[in-house]
Amino acid sequence: MSYGSTIKVPFGPQHPALKEPEYFLFEVDGDIVVKVTPRIGYVHRGVEKAFEQETYLHNLYLAERICGICSHAHTTCYTQTVEGLIPLEVPPRAVYIRLIMAELERLHSHSLWVGIAAHEAGFDTLFMYLWRDREMIMDLMEEISGNRVTHAINTIGGVRRDITNEQANKIKKFMDRFEGNVKEYMKVLETEQTFLKRTKGVGILKPRDAISLCAVGPTLRASGIKSDVRADDPYLAYGEIPFNVITHDGCDVYARTIVRCEEMIESANIIRYALDHLPEGKIRVPPPRTIAPNESVGRVEAPRGELIHYARSNGTAKPERYKVRSPTLGNLASVCQTLIGAHVADIPMILAGIDPCFSCMDRMTITVKKA
């Protein structure tokens, strides 16, 4: 029992724990959170309406800018959806190049996340080390595609740039180094007592709750559930490449950290396999300008979870309706559940645990008129 009413602590829209603006109102009794009221919609940009105003090729660049960290996942899903509308078959070499970029992006996104998780726990040194290694991945992506983020290597019908042999050797050499570094950081994370105290037992999400609250991605896999779009519904060339779906039974923030670190090692293996088995051939086929009336759905495993795009065409060069559902929207309900009962100091750890990407997420605003 407390002395009186609870304290209301507002988190956001501007807060150092959140890298992107959303508003959470916490009611705190002493040091324990008793109620969470989220309010989303701060980064709503009218993207879905803007999709209807431009042609399919121009919309590719809009889709790329829905999110900065998972921009390649958005363009992969977009091209997959539109190629499903036409329908159009992409040459195998382009498929492999898309896969290699997607896994490189998963590497950079996960190393960004582990750095952020360390920073939220106060572990600034590991944050600096991880982001220094991440810079090398960004330089690699810049050499392959021309830009550090918003790579613009995808196009409807294939990819725009090829990977030369010396680039492939460079990537393979870098993967060995990066994998060694990640294993060292994993050892630090598993044995550093101060970090373990902040992450073990924090933000428990039971498997039943994870499924009923629609969690996706590493958040779901850290509760022991084997669910990965790359394995369940293989797109690109994931059906031909052997890889493991990483799960962990901890259900807490520590399990999510370990799942993401091991996914990084798994991605390095996938990239090496794909580079060794890169098929020859051309890299793009020309798409038609107008698309007959059709509907199509594309699903992709973005670094944060399952990303769904839906498109509907009506015979013109512009889409009639386009819908994007990003993984953070799926994880939002589960995070509101895990926040109840946590200490105030655990709030940033739990919020960071789902790898929130609110700019991906905001498709609608909710306006509440106060009477």
């Binding site: 431009e54 090729l57 121009h58 590719l60 660049y61 809009l62 040194t125 590991l126 080390y129 220094r132 810079e135 330089d139 810049e142 050499e143 392959i144 595609s145 021309g146 830009n147 918003t150 613009a152 725009r160 740039r161 060292e184 050892k187 630090v188 044995t191 550093e192 007592q193």
Partner: protein, 123 residues
């Protein structure tokens, strides 16, 4: 204490910071910087203007100002114009230091040389 050895080793290593702009930045060869038009090769077809997703290119077909008007502040450096040009007149350079203090400097005109223009009008 797990980070002890790694942290102790880092004290004696060179810092990872690049002292840009006092040292040159790292520029890989494939970097997509700003596009440049070669007006000798340009035939004033309208394909680059149609390909641009942000309407940063305007082609002026006739008259004394004939040529390409390029808005640097609208460009997203995607390279679609370079892909679409049938004569390969557009090259994506690696120039990325493009900031300026005046809005009017952001619009650049590439004028088509006069005799080549009348040649193109005749054919």
């Amino acid at each position: 204490m797990s980070l002890f050895r790694e942290a102790a080793r880092q004290i004696f290593r060179k810092p990872a910071t690049v002292k840009y702009p006092f040292e040159p930045g790292i520029v890989p060869p494939g970097l997509r910087g700003r596009p440049v038009w070669d007006m000798e090769k340009c035939i004033l077809c309208v394909l680059c203007q149609n390909a641009c997703p942000t309407a940063a290119i305007k082609m002026i077909p006739k008259g004394p100002d004939a040529g390409i008007e390029y808005h640097l502040d609208r460009c997203i450096f995607c390279g679609e114009c370079a892909d679409a040009c049938p004569r390969k007149a557009i090259t994506m350079t690696t120039n990325f230091e493009l900031a300026d203090t005046s809005r009017s400097n952001m619009v650049q005109h590439y004028k088509k040389p006069q005799q080549a223009q009348t040649q193109a009008a005749k054919t």
